[in-house]
Each structure stands twice: as C-alpha cells, then as structure tokens.
C-alpha cells in the first residue's frame, strides 16, 4: 500500500503478530490434534474435536476478523465526516435502533424472528438512520446537527428498550446477551452472510476516498464544486450500513468503532487515505485479540463474558494511554453552532415556564389511579395516605431536573461543544458503577449504602478527571476523557447485565431513572441542594459569557482560565452526582434542557440558565406524573419518560429553529 507510511504499518503489523500469537496459543493444541485438514474438509459427525474446530472456533475467528474490520472502517468514516473524535457507530443511534427492533420482535412479532433475526435487527438500524437522515438532509448534513439528531434518536430507542426490559424482565434475557455482543458461532452461515456485505461496503468506501479528502477543507470545498451534502450522506450511509450489518449479526461490540480510528491516528495515520486502511486492520486485529483472550479466560475460569463487552474493558485503557501521550494531536470536537434567534422579552417566557411547572406539579399531587385502575382525583384521608408516596417523587424528580439542566448548561458553555452534558462527562457512569459495586458487595444494601456507593463512584471519576486535567489543554479534552470513562463503566455494567444475575435488574430500573426509593427527608435535602446549586451557578454567569467566546478571549479579559475551569467543572460534577443518584444516568435531561431553552429563544446569560433549569424541571415533573399513572400499576421510571417526552419536543424545536434562522 503506497499510502501507508512506515510508522502506522509497523504498529499494525505488530498488532497482527500479537493476534496471531494469541490465536495460536488458544487454538494451537486443538488444531494439532485434529490436523490442518479440519480447516477445509467437512468433519464426520462423530469426530467432536474436528466438528468443534470447523463449525464453532474457526467461524468465530473469521467472524471476529470481519466484524473488527467493519467496525474500524465505519468508525473512521463517522469520525471523519462528523469531524468529531467522539463520533462512533453508536452516535447515530444505529445500534440502539437495531436493539429496539430486536426487542419489539421478541415480544410482539416472534414470527419475524423465526423468519430472520438478522433482517429484523438490520431493519431497526436502517430505520434509525432514516430518521437521522430525514432531519440532517434539511441541514445539509452539517456535522453538529447529525450528531445531535443521532444522539437523541439513539437515546430514544435505548429508552424504549429499557422500558420494554423493565416491563418484561423475564422474557428479554436474549436482548442483554445481544447487547453484550456475543461472538459464539454454530456454523459458517452468519460469517458467509456478513462477509460479502462488508466487502461491498469497503469498495464503496474506497470509491469515496478522494471526495472524503476534500471534506477536510470544510465549507471551503463548496467552492471546488463538490456537493458536500452528497459526499457526507454517502459516507455516512456506508458507515451506517457497516454498523447495522455487524450488529445484526453479532450484537453490540462496544467501543471498537471509537478506539480503532483513534489508535490509527495515534500511531501516525494522519491522512484519511491512510486511516481508511489502517483503522479497519487495527480493528480486526484488536477484536481477534480480545476474543481469543476471552476464550482462554472462559476455558480457565468457567465464567463467561460476552466479547463485545470485553472489547470495551480492554480497549478503553489502550485508548486512554494513547490519548494521554498524543492528546494534542486529536482533532478538536464540533465547533459549529446553529444560531437560534434570541427573543426580546425573556422574562415573560420564563414566567410562563415557571407557571407551567407549577400547574403540572398541582396535577401530579391531586390526580392518580384507584385500586381498580380508574382515574380519580384524590382528596381528604385518601390523599393524605398517598401523599407520602407522591410528594417525595415529585420534589426529587424536579430538583434533579434542575440540577442536571444547570450542569448541562455549564458544561456546554465551558466547552463550546453541543454534545457536552453531565451524562457525557462520565460522572453518571461513575455513580452507576459505585452503585453496582454496592449491589454485589453488600448482601442486603440499604438506601444509605447505595448513596455512599454512588457518591464514592462519582468522586472517583471526578478525581481521575482532575488528575488528568493537568495534561488536558481544553474543555474538549475533558469531554473525551469523560466519554471514554463512561464507555468503560457502561461496558462493565453490560457485562453484569449479560451475566443474567437477577441483581442486575434492580440496577437497570435505577439506571432508567426511577425515583422509587426516595424518602421525604431525602427529597428535602435534594431540593435544598438544587436551590444552593442554582444560586452558585448564577454567580458564574459573567465568567461563563467570556468562555462562550473561547479560551483565548477569556484569558485576555484577565480571567484565570485554569482555576475557573476547575471550579465550573467541579460544580457541574457535584450537581450531576447528586442528581444521578436520584434519577439515574440515562435521563439526558442535562443534554436536552439547555438546548430546549436555547431553541425557545433564551440564548444567553442568566435567562438561558434559568430557562434551562425550568425546562429541566418541567420535563421531569411531567415525566413523573405520566410515569406514575399511564401504565398503572407499573411505574415507568421518570428519567426514561423524560427522555421520551423530550426527544420529540427537541426534534420539533430543532427543525422549527432551522426555519426561523433561515428566514434571516
């Protein structure tokens, strides 16, 4: 390959040697006893060793190679087109869409699975892509819009999957194993189905090489007469197709699509042409290494970890190491911003928002369902008896909404990155991980144990982030670190889920954002913390304004950038940790609320912060009421319902905002 410079090809070759060595250690003894002929000839049914090699181990090896290649390639395409090193196959919601389709098919259309499980999942992946493309087309596939719509679509699908899981926990264990990414094979059918599709996509990607190189020029490329929109759409389509085919064959292989291109870049593959070749090869080698190690591990210990989850566990430290060394060479994240219009009278809008929050709160307090499931507005003694259950939920959910929204505003301002949110910073995942440890270490965990576990987890992630902040130069690097940590912890959690341990289910319901365990004392404490948080954030309005203009500008205004960064991050993380303990890490109110405020016309300064906080509160209060009553007697987790409510509102505002801003 003439594009490959000496450096990246050396690193790639090294990885492949490692992959070959580990494969030899794992499969060598068996191949030795059956002879190489087992590779090619049909073994006789009686020869169990040869059957094992020919129909299980070899297809599995081939599958890991093909999947790793496909995910590496799709990762490069995503990151290049979206100009964001955080972009990965999950960014566009493809994996979540596929998982949703699988879940729906399992529950309601089992015949569909009997016909073809892979087609059903692939349909979900492409449907998610269609939604993203429909919105992104109007914006000429501007990276920031694609990422935002993709993230929201993904969240939306994940939210529905989680709901289905909670409602049908007995039925969907297959979904967890799929989510963990299992490479187990029974024959060659799956590989031989996937292989031609991946080859086809790779050829398409190679045909796009020249145009992709032009993309780097950004909007300037318009001048040279290349339709940016079409190049972006075509490249994204190839990337989505690769991901969809892979996930429908083996499930979610976490992290590989993010790690392989990052490693390729770090070992010196700077040009897109080089990366397009190096990253898939690195992806394939990585997945083979991880899968073979997992086979050895399972054989030695007898405990089973799905390979897809293990990839994240092993890939994450690698990625961190690479980034620590080469942090400076990573591309910067999305800077492009949509410019929504500012409205003239923000006070009126804020008052209206506050009024809405109050109205929803009143409905929530008085309306409920009876024993027979009928709708009633409770009064008198009955109201008094159910109020201790209703009020803490409402107060806690609303307060958490305010805190997450504020944290989201802070982080988005600080980093100038539209993707920034407390969930992205990894603090939520840290809290989740702390809780997970408590669930497994303490035999009968009380709510206090859970709190301590969650706080310790959040504090640990914060500690790591701060320790690394010495080498990080910009807010964006914090985000990259946070996302990596988050992905790592999420992978750990999905390992536990895939293990089928019943304790994991209680973790899911918490992760889904359930306000179930909140006592009245706790809700009061959270309310106070939310108020304190809101006041301290107000004091940061002025320095934040300067951050919005960029680090350099803030510096020239005499602001001590470093100290202020740490202060803002600290406040953001604390707000997140407390809120996450209440509503779980999946609510994404922190991502949506600031955008909602912005789309409503509250774009800057104090009005923006207040607008975000009120949007967060409104989302969560409404979600609490709906979650409690809509599917009685089941209670839908507030955080999830907030995501489901916020998604469409967000999409409508995004599209409407576009129309408004084009009018100028």
């Amino acid at each position: 390959m003439r594009y490959v410079t000496a450096h990246p090809s050396f690193a790639t070759a090294l990885l492949w040697c490692l992959a070959a060595a580990i494969t030899a250690i794992n499969l060598g003894p068996l191949i030795g006893s059956t002879g190489v002929s087992a590779f090619f000839s049909m073994p006789s049914a009686g020869d169990s060793q040869a059957v094992l090699l020919h129909y299980s181990l070899l297809p599995r090896l081939a599958m890991s190679c093909v999947c790793g290649f496909a995910l590496g390639l799709s990762g490069v395409l995503f990151q290049h087109v979206l100009r964001n090193p955080l972009a990965s196959p999950s960014t566009l919601g493809v994996e979540a869409g596929a998982q949703l389709a699988l879940g729906v098919a399992m529950l309601w259309f089992p015949a569909l699975l009997g016909w073809s499980r892979d087609t059903a999942t692939a349909f979900g992946g492409f449907a998610a892509m269609a939604v993203v493309f429909a919105v992104a087309w109007r914006f000429k596939f501007q990276p920031v819009t694609v990422i935002l719509t993709g993230l929201v679509t993904g969240l939306y699908c994940t939210a529905i999957v989680t709901l289905l899981t909670l409602m049908n926990d007995h039925y969907l264990s297959g979904l967890f194993v799929w989510g963990g990414g299992s490479l187990n094979q029974n024959d060659w059918r799956a590989v031989s189905g996937l292989f031609p599709k991946v080859i086809g996509c790779s050829i398409l990607a190679l045909l796009l090489v020249r145009q992709l190189g032009v993309l780097t020029l950004g909007e300037a490329a318009q001048g040279i007469g290349i339709k940016l929109q079409f190049v972006r759409a075509a490249a994204l389509f190839v990337a989505v197709a690769l991901t969809t085919f892979t996930v429908s064959a083996v499930g979610v292989i976490g992290f590989l699509g993010l790690a392989a291109p990052a490693i390729a870049r770090a070992v010196g593959a700077r040009r897109i042409n080089t990366r397009l070749i190096v990253a898939p090869l690195i992806g394939a080698a990585l997945l083979i290494i991880v899968d073979q190690i997992m086979q050895v591990y399972t054989a030695k210990t007898g405990s089973y970890v799905p390979t897809g989850a293990a990839t994240a566990l092993i890939g994450m430290p690698v990625l961190l190491l690479v980034m620590m060394k080469r942090g400076g060479s990573l591309q910067t994240a999305v800077q492009g911003r949509l410019s929504p219009t500012t409205i003239r009278r923000p006070l009126l809008l804020i008052t209206a928002l506050a009024g809405l929050v109050l109205a929803v709160a009143l409905v929530t307090i008085f309306v409920g369902r009876g024993v027979d499931g009928s709708w009633i507005s409770h009064t008198g003694a009955t109201l008094k008896s159910v109020l201790p259950w209703r009020l803490p939920r409402l107060v806690a959910a609303t307060s958490a909404g305010i805190m997450l929204a504020l944290a989201g505003s802070l982080l988005q301002r600080l980093t100038g990155n539209a993707m920034a949110s407390p969930e992205v910073l990894g603090v939520s995942a840290g809290t989740a991980f702390g809780l997970l440890c408590v669930l497994f270490v303490v035999a009968e965990p009380t709510i206090g144990d859970r709190l301590i576990g969650g706080l310790v987890g959040a504090a640990t992630v914060l500690g790591i982030l701060f320790a690394m902040s010495r080498t990080a130069h910009s807010g964006n690097q914090f985000l990259i670190l946070g996302v990596s940590l988050g992905a790592f912890l999420t992978a750990l959690i999905s390992v536990v889920l895939a293990s089928g341990d019943p304790r994991a289910l209680s973790l899911i319901s918490w992760m889904a954002g359930s306000t179930y365990g909140v006592s009245s004392t706790m809700s009061l404490i959270i309310l106070i913390l939310a108020i304190v948080g809101a006041i301290s954030v107000t004091l940061l309005v002025r320095p934040l304004q300067q951050f919005a203009l960029g680090d350099v500008s803030a510096h020239s205004h005499g602001v001590d950038v470093k100290k202020l960064q740490i202060l803002i991050l600290g406040i953001g993380a604390l707000l997140t940790a407390v809120a996450t303990l209440i509503v779980g890490p999946l609510s994404f109110v922190g991502l949506m609320a600031p955008h909602l405020a912005q789309r409503l016309g509250l774009t800057r300064g104090l009005p923006h912060l207040m607008g975000s906080a009120l949007s967060g509160a409104l989302l969560m209060a409404t979600a609490d009421f709906i979650g409690r009553t809509i599917y009685f007697p089941w209670q839908l987790p507030t955080g999830l319902v907030a995501t489901l409510l916020g998604g469409p509102v967000f999409a409508v505002l995004l599209i409407r905002g576009r129309r408004l801003s084009t009018r100028h």
Binding site: S48, G114, S182, S303, S519
Partner: protein
C-alpha cells in the same frame, strides 16, 4: 434490621396475618399451597408463563414491577404483612411504613437453596397461622419427590438448559433448585463445570459437547427462531446427545421457586422418563 422487624411480627402471631402481600413469585407459590393466597402480588400477568403451578387466584391484585412495587396501590390494599426477598431490602423503610415486612433469604447464599426453602415454608406457615398445613406441604413434597425417584431411575445422566438465542444457552447446576431436585432423585447432572451462585451458567453451544450422550431437556419458553434453526446447524446435529436422540422439550418451571416448583420439576422429569 431483621431483629427490629421481628418484634411487631411476634406480637401479631396470636392473631396471624390474613391480608398478606407477596413481592416474590416463589413465596406466593407456597402461600397459595398453604391456603392463604396473597391479596397482592408483583407482575401477575407473567405468572401463567413462568410459574404455572399452582394456578393464581383471579382476585390477586397486580402490584406492577417486581423491582418497583407500586407503593400507592400497596397502601390502598392495607396489608397486615408484606413478605419479600433480600433484594428489596433497600426499600424496606418505605415498605415498613405500610405494614411489617418479613424477608426470606433463599437463593445465592453460597449453599443449596433447598434447606432454606423448607425453613421458609415453616416460617410462612407459622406467620400465617398454618403450621399444620406447612408441615403437610413439606411431607407431601417429600413424598412426591420419592415417587418421582422411582419413576426417574432409568434417566441416567441428564442436563437442563434454556435457549437464550440459537447460539447462547443457559445451563443449570449446583446452587439452584433444579440441582437440588436431581440430588433428591439421585440423578446425575451431566454438566460438571461450575455455575454461578444462582445455580446457572451462560455458555455457547459448543460447550454442550461436554454433556456427551446424556439426556438433554430444554425448557420453555424458547425464542421462536431457535427450533427452526437447530436442524440446520451442523454443530447441534453432531452433538452426541442429538445423535443418540436424547433431546426433549420441557414445560417451564420457576427457577427461583419454592417447594411447588421443585415437585413440579420432579413430576415433569418423571413424566418424561416414561
């Protein structure tokens, strides 16, 4: 924690609880057998698919998800006792605002669940004022297990699995009630590798080679595409137990069940061996 909750319970013993809510399928099974069905139970619609026996009385109120019992509804039911498992210990303070809570540790204690099930049956009998019925249930179960032992003598080595999907399988062993029933029937589990503390292991199909030509039971429910795909899988077809024709389907038995689940499992084995 347990100590403090026992005080109000003992005071109640004389009258014994009658409006009891169960937050666990297994405990509800035993309560129905003792003649005191729960007034409320979690996730009642799925009972027929997973627990099957004994049938659930129609008037039992559905309390929603097992992980998030509907507290408002629980309050409106006015129970005088709530029975539960240690996995809901974290909401015990809330539950105790409604009624006294008794939690029964049965599974994942690092030992076989069967003795804990017997203890729980006696304790439930005492709390519900049905000690004689509880002893009768234990005796009846022992008798049924003995009867099944004679019937299953010819089964030889065997294994029980459920299909997660066509490539991933859950297999049962030490730590679960299925192994306990094997032990009481003096049957030998063909799966000799380790299982987790809940008594199962998640494996790939290739691992089933270890079972040799033992008898294999795959339990309901089965994902719809699995049965269609198995015949086309050379790996499955070359399994010694498939070639020996030792594969049988089995109806669902509650994995985390109590005595009624154990006897149901034994009876299904006995029926399969005829």
């Amino acid at each position: 924690m347990l100590g403090c909750s026992c005080v109000p319970l003992r005071a109640q013993e004389a009258t014994s609880a009658s409006r009891v809510v169960s937050l666990d399928y297994g405990l509800a099974q035993t309560m129905i057998e003792l003649g005191v069905p729960p007034v409320g139970l979690v996730d009642t619609p799925a009972w027929a698919d997973w627990t099957v026996e004994p049938p659930l009385p129609a008037k039992v109120v559905n309390l929603g998800s097992a992980h998030e019992v509907n507290m408002e509804l629980l309050q409106l039911l006015r129970p005088d006792l709530i029975v539960s498992t240690p996995y809901l210990e974290w909401v015990r303070p809330q539950l105790e605002q409604i009624a006294p809570v008794k939690s029964f540790p049965i599974h994942a204690l690092g030992s076989s669940p069967f003795p804990h099930i017997i203890d729980a049956t006696r304790e439930l009998g005492r709390m519900l004022g049905r000690t004689t019925e509880a002893e009768a249930l234990i005796d009846r179960s022992e008798m049924e297990l003995r009867a099944a032992q004679t019937a299953t003598r010819h089964l030889g080595k065997l294994a029980v699995i459920t299909f997660i999907d066509e490539r991933n399988i859950r297999i049962y062993g030490p730590g679960g009630i299925f192994q306990d029933v094997f032990d009481r029937l003096e049957l030998q589990n063909a799966w000799t590798r380790s299982t987790n503390e809940w008594g199962f292991a998640d494996i790939g199909m290739a691992d089933l080679f270890d079972l040799g030509d033992a008898r294999l039971f795959y339990m309901d429910p089965i994902p719809p595409d699995v049965l269609a795909k198995l015949p086309g899988s050379p790996l499955w077809q070359s399994m010694p137990f498939v070639q020996a024709g030792h594969v049988q389907r089995m109806a669902s038995v509650l994995m985390f069940g109590t005595l009624p689940a154990a006897t149901r499992f034994a009876r299904l084995l006995a029926e399969a061996s005829t």
